[in-house]
């Protein structure tokens, strides 16, 4: 009989206990993954704000005139300036919503280096003013192919009286950014702007995005921009993205702390439960271990056996838990995405979970293993 067979025989003897112990571990790791993903959702916001980038808005919550962008571009230390205006409509059926972002394409790609298209797509896009590129998830959802004509209905009125805007899909962009940042149809600003029937809506932008050459200059550039428009109407507000997103995350503050505390509490209690189950199970079998010792099993070998037991229980439990947690995250994502666009399970969290599992299995085995090592064989056997 091999040692593994002995371990499994031990599991089979108390099927219920084995099952419940494994399930406790499963639960602990499922919770760990959900909380780690939630935490990543917050942390992802920070990483998204590129240190060199800053956003400019009207601080009266309205739109900005497009000519502000040219004035900003003349400031020292700026690498690229882009701006955007959004229109909203639907594709084919109401509810099939599409948000179209009108941008100066070349500058937009310079400001968001995270987005990538092929060179062919880039050339096609620059050649045709009706061209637009869609984020990969959007194109997949709507089943768009390159070359398709895409009617977006229900937008703002056009000069010709219609409210359906037509675009040609010239490319599909990919990015390391998560899905919710990729749900836009990116079109030419000029095409949208020229098409607007309402003259007062023309030459306006929702936001100007500035890429500086050096992250150290960001604050200085932001101040310069604000000073430049201090006496203009509307005045502008310039915020470095790094500062803004870090601030947003910090502002969630106490909610983040609660998440951390919950995680800790859950983990500690699960450790307690598993450790308790293990030590109960060893205590019940003390006489058997004594017998094995008497039969010639070494101390070390028996200690290893306990380690293996806990390794199996924690390993299987953690594996199941990670699968369960991953399913739960997928399930929760749609309702959370609006607030936490980075609610995505990341490999780092899984790696940490695996390390924790290893640590955890050793920790729960240590006390029972020691007990066996220190077992007074003759005494124990006498008590059978």
């Amino acid at each position: 009989m091999t040692d593994s067979a002995l371990v499994f025989a031990g599991f089979r003897r108390h099927k219920m206990r084995t099952l419940f112990t494994v399930l406790s571990v499963t639960v602990a790791f499922a919770i760990f993954l959900v909380l780690a993903t939630l935490y990543n959702g917050f942390a992802g916001l920070v990483n998204y704000g590129r240190a060199q980038r800053l956003d400019v808005w009207s601080d009266g919550f309205g739109k900005l005139p497009v000519h502000y962008a040219a004035k900003i571009a003349s400031i020292d230390g700026i690498r690229a300036v882009a701006y955007q205006i959004s229109i909203f409509g639907h594709f084919r059926a109401p509810g099939n919503d599409v948000s179209v972002v009108g941008v100066p394409f070349a500058q937009y790609m310079a400001v968001y280096p995270e987005l990538s298209v092929t060179d062919t797509e880039r050339r096609a896009m620059l050649a045709d003013r009706r061209c637009a590129i869609a984020g990969a998830p959007l194109a997949k959802k709507m089943a768009w192919k390159i070359g398709d004509t895409i009617p977006v209905a229900g937008g703002p009125p056009q000069k010709n009286g219609g409210t359906t805007w037509h675009f040609r899909l010239c490319g599909i962009f990919r990015s390391t950014l998560p899905d919710s940042f990729m749900q836009n149809l990116v079109a030419h600003y000029e095409y949208l702007n020229d098409g607007m029937a309402d003259a007062s809506a023309r030459d306006q932008v929702d936001q100007i995005v500035v890429m500086t050459g050096n992250a150290r200059n960001v604050s200085r550039v932001a101040r310069t921009i604000e000073r430049k428009f201090a006496n203009a109407q509307p005045t502008a507000m310039a915020l470095p993205e790094g500062e803004l997103y870090l601030s947003v995350v910090k502002s969630f503050g106490d909610v983040g702390a609660i998440v951390t505390w919950v995680g800790l509490a859950v983990f500690l209690s699960m450790l307690l439960v598993t450790g308790n189950a293990m030590s109960n199970s060893v205590r019940e079998r003390l006489s058997e271990f004594a017998l094995l010792r008497a039969l010639g099993f070494s101390r070390r070998r028996l200690a290893w056996q306990v380690m293996r037991e806990s390794g199996w229980i924690v390993g299987v439990g953690a594996g199941l838990g990670l699968v369960l947690g991953w399913r739960l995250c997928l399930m929760m994502a749609p309702s959370v995405e609006n607030v936490l666009p980075f609610f995505v399970v990341n490999p780092q969290a899984v790696a940490i979970a695996v390390l924790l599992a290893a640590f955890f299995s050793i920790l729960t085995a240590i006390v029972p293993a020691q007990r066996i090592t220190a077992l007074p064989v003759a005494d124990t056997l006498r008590r059978i």
Binding site: M237, V248, V262, V273, N338, V339
Partner: protein, 387 residues
């Protein structure tokens, strides 16, 4: 009568033996305690926000804005003439409002202060439901003065101490604190509309009109009238609707997180309890068999084991609730809602406590029922032979 007597005897016997099983019993209690604590903590965040958003008067306070952006005096005239508007001394109870962003740089290390400013015609501030000045005085038209909401005072206490706030190249003095009882609305700064228009060079335009209606029932007629106004593009909402929308996403996340995590944790605690209760029954199968042989029937055995699990769970629940009340009850905290810092007080409501204890009870039954059934069903003769 006999059954009751047997049950009480067995329960007593069982509870007395708890002392010998102290470690396992405390693991069970601890498991349930953690679940209840976390459950109540998350619920207290939700209730802290939810509670404040359901205030009287918000269903007859209507906010009119325009899909075209800004409004001007002709829009205010249209509102004043609309049906259903409340009047005081024959003056319509309406107030023009506008919004601004107040971003306080270098507010905390690595943190911007993200506050919003509400500008309102100072003489009409009474239109806001439940508005009262809780400290200092109202701002005066013609002066660069601001008021802070009670929440804003919690978030930015440094500004009340006579410091001025730089905004739009002017220095604003905080002169008082107001309250309307809403978590989101009281985390703002308040300025006079005319002063705001001056500072923002917005001319005589504004972004909305707050309107007090005669009754909530007047809303649909008012809304229809406003939406029929040509060239206005009126968007008409009650304040209650607006409050509901603001907190909604936040609450959805909390409810989801609370639901998923509570279910998972409860499952974990129940597994732990099952484990321990089964082991407990198994290790005492001999004693139980002796009791059965002495004439105790099945039900008292079942009741004794089940009630132990329930009792341990309730103990965990009570400790969890008590600790939550001590640690979180009334705690003032802040978070980000809709892009702005919002201050609120964690609220542990009686209904949350009730649900938490119910949860503990349910977990106790789930963890104790099957082991109790096994104990009650075990064949007496076989157990005696083994024991």
């Amino acid at each position: 009568m006999e059954a009751l007597h047997q049950t009480l005897t067995l329960c007593r016997w069982n509870y007395l033996s708890l002392r010998a099983r102290l470690r396992n019993a405390s693991v069970v209690v601890f498991g349930f305690f953690v679940v209840v604590l976390v459950f109540v903590a998350v619920l207290s965040v939700r209730d802290g926000i939810l509670g404040s958003e359901m205030r009287p008067g918000t269903d007859r306070l209507v906010i009119v804005s325009s899909s075209h952006g800004s409004l001007d005096a002709s829009a205010l005239d249209a509102v004043n003439q609309a049906p259903g508007v409340a009047r005081m001394n024959s003056e319509p109870e309406t107030a023009a409002t506008a919004f601004g962003a107040l971003v306080i740089r270098n507010w905390r290390p690595d943190m911007l202060g993200l506050a919003s400013i509400l500008a309102i015609d100072t003489s009409r501030v009474g239109v806001l439901p439940n508005f009262r000045v809780v400290e200092g005085r109202m701002m005066r038209p013609g002066f660069n003065e601001m008021m802070m909401g009670e929440g804003a005072r919690q978030i930015y206490p440094e500004y009340l101490a006579g410091r001025t706030i730089p905004w739009r190249h002017r220095k604003w003095t905080v002169v008082g604190v107001y309250s309307t009882g809403s978590v989101t609305r009281d985390s703002r700064f308040l300025v006079d509309l005319r002063q705001f228009q001056d500072a923002t060079k917005a001319g005589a335009t504004f972004s909305g009109v707050d309107v007090r209606l005669l009754s909530p029932g007047a809303f649909s007629r008012f809304k229809k009238y406003m939406e029929a106004q040509p060239n206005l593009g009126a968007v008409v909402k009650t304040m209650a609707e607006e409050d509901e929308e603001v907190g909604k996403q936040f609450r959805v996340i909390l409810a989801l997180a609370d639901g998923v995590i509570t279910i998972l944790m409860a499952a974990g605690a129940i597994f732990a309890a099952l484990n321990i209760m089964y082991a407990n029954v198994a290790s005492r199968s001999g004693e139980l068999a002796v009791l059965r042989a002495l004439g105790f029937s099945r039900f008292p055995v079942l009741a004794a084991i089940l009630s132990e699990a329930v009792l341990l769970a309730l103990a965990g629940g009570v400790i969890g609730v008590a600790l939550a009340v001590i640690a979180f009850g009334g705690l003032e905290t802040s978070t980000l809602m809709g892009g702005w810092l919002v201050s609120f007080r964690l609220a542990i409501t009686p209904s949350a406590i009730f649900i938490a204890l119910l949860l503990a009870l349910g977990m106790g039954v789930a963890g104790g029922l099957f082991p109790a059934i096994r104990a009650a069903r075990q064949p007496v003769a076989a157990a005696l032979r083994e024991g």
